[in-house]
Every structure is written in structure tokens, then in C-alpha cells.
């Protein structure tokens, strides 16, 4: 898929672990892992909202389009 998920980059910038994000956002580790590995087929606005709020970033910082 041409959409790249840069969640690991943002986590590294914010010096936050996946477990910490999972606890703060309220999403299971399994789901966050699916998102991080780029296996997700869709992302809810509510999830994106929570992640952006926690990591203090924009959706474009997490999602990138590479044709």
C-alpha cells in the first residue's frame, strides 16, 4: 500500500514506548502493533485523534503517502 505509517518515528521523537502510548490512548497493543507494522486496512478518526493528542502532532506526521 502507498500509505506509510510513521508511528515508530513519532514515538522515537517523543521518546515514548508503544506500551506507554497504548495505555495513554486506550488502544490494545495488538491494534497498535497492526498500525505500526502497516498492516491496518483502516484507521478510525477517534483513534487518529487520540494518537495525535497524545503525541502532540498532526495526522500528516503519522501518515505519509508514497506513490
Amino acid at each position: 500500500m502507498a500509505i506509510i505509517v510513521n508511528l515508530d518515528v513519532m514515538l522515537a521523537r517523543r521518546k515514548m514506548s508503544l506500551t506507554e502510548l497504548s495505555e495513554k490512548v486506550g488502544i490494545t497493543m495488538a491494534n497498535l502493533s497492526i498500525l505500526k507494522k502497516g498492516k491496518a486496512k483502516a484507521i478510525r478518526f477517534s483513534t487518529l485523534d487520540s494518537i495525535c493528542k497524545t503525541l502532540d502532532c498532526q495526522p500528516a506526521d503519522i501518515l505519509e503517502y508514497k506513490p
Partner: protein, 210 residues
């Protein structure tokens, strides 16, 4: 851990299929013994009793004895389904029917095994699964094969046996049964498998939505 209760109807269907399956397996084993006996030893005193693939033409006049109006209703009996009983079954005919029974019993056994597996999956809470789709498709293909075989055998019976039978008062029609219900049921299950396929895709998408 959250436990989901099985619907009572599914449990009932599961046990019904299970019991029916084993009854069918027992009957199949007995039928297979008979088939093997006919094929190998011939069974000289065999008295076959088979259904006719065509209707029987009769013209019998009668009355309808229901007091709906003062006028007595007259009715005519014009077509009957019937069975043929061979008093002395020729060995060749016995063998033909033995092969027919052998194939039909095996095909139905195959369908029964698949239905049992499908119902077991549903009973265990596995609904939208690619294995279930494969099982439904196999049931559909097996039913189409059974339908083709029954139609073929109906025509074979008609041209090989029925038109050569002579009776004094009755005659057979030429309309060989084509069992459209079996074909419709097979096609319905095939469509159902495609609906299940869509369900599987939606479930997969739902699983991968975060």
C-alpha cells in the same frame, strides 16, 4: 473472559445433524453390503422396487364427496407417480441399479460429511471463515453433480426400461423428471457461499481497523 451463549436452535440443529449423520452412515454401510452382494454374486431372487422417473397416464373418473354446494363435483384422475416392482429382477438390471445406489449413497455421504463439518464450525462459533465458504461451495458442487446424475439416470431408465415395459391398462408419459428443486437448492447454496465470502472480507477489514 467473556463467554458467548450458543443459540438453542443451533445446538438443536447440531445434535440433529449429528444423530442423522450416524443413522445415515449405518444405513449406507448396509446399502453398500447389499450393493457389493448384487455386484459380486448377482442375488438371483432379487426383487427390486424402484420409483418411475415418469408419470403414469390413467383416466379414472370419480366424484368429490364434499358438501360445498348441492351439485356433486366430478373429478378425473389423469396422472400418477408410481413404483415398479420387479418380480424376477434380471441380473443386469440389478447390477445397473446397484451401481446407481453406490454412486448416490457415496455422493450423499460426502454431502453429509461436509454439512456436519459446517454445522460443527457454526456450533463452535466459527461463522465467517474461509473454510466455511469452501465447505458451502463443495456442498453446492456435489448437489449439482447429484442433480446431473439423477437427470441422466432418469433418462437412462426411461429409454432403457420404461419404454420397453408393456401394461394392458396404463401407459407411461414421456416427461422425465428433472428435479429442479435440487438444482435451485445447489445454486442457492452457491450464492450463499458468495455472501459468506463478503462477510469474511468485512470481518477481516473490521479486524484490521484500529
Amino acid at each position: 473472559m467473556e463467554t458467548t451463549r450458543k443459540p438453542r436452535s443451533i445446538s438443536l440443529i447440531y445434535w440433529f445433524v449429528k444423530v442423522t449423520f450416524w443413522i445415515y452412515v449405518t444405513a449406507s454401510v448396509i446399502a453398500m453390503f447389499l450393493v457389493v452382494a448384487i455386484l459380486l454374486f448377482g442375488m438371483e431372487d432379487l426383487q427390486l422396487h424402484v420409483g418411475t422417473p415418469v408419470k403414469i397416464n390413467v383416466v379414472e373418473q370419480g366424484t368429490l364427496d364434499v358438501n360445498l354446494s348441492e351439485k356433486l363435483a366430478e373429478v378425473k384422475l389423469v396422472g400418477l407417480t408410481g413404483d415398479v416392482h420387479f418380480v424376477n429382477t434380471p441380473i443386469e438390471i440389478g447390477r445397473i441399479y446397484a451401481v446407481f445406489i453406490f454412486i448416490i449413497v457415496l455422493l450423499f455421504l460426502y454431502i453429509f460429511i461436509i454439512i456436519k463439518r459446517f454445522i460443527t464450525n457454526v456450533y463452535n462459533g466459527i461463522y465467517f471463515d474461509f473454510n466455511n465458504i469452501s465447505l458451502l461451495k463443495r456442498i453446492s458442487y456435489a448437489l449439482i453433480i447429484i442433480w446431473l446424475f439423477l437427470v441422466f439416470f432418469g433418462f437412462f431408465q426411461y429409454y432403457f426400461l420404461i419404454i420397453n415395459m408393456n401394461f394392458e391398462t396404463v401407459e407411461f408419459t414421456a416427461n422425465v423428471q428433472t428435479y429442479p428443486v435440487i438444482l435451485l437448492f445447489a445454486l442457492f447454496i452457491w450464492v450463499l457461499s458468495h455472501i459468506f465470502m463478503k462477510g469474511c472480507e468485512l470481518q477481516e477489514e473490521n479486524k484490521l481497523t484500529v
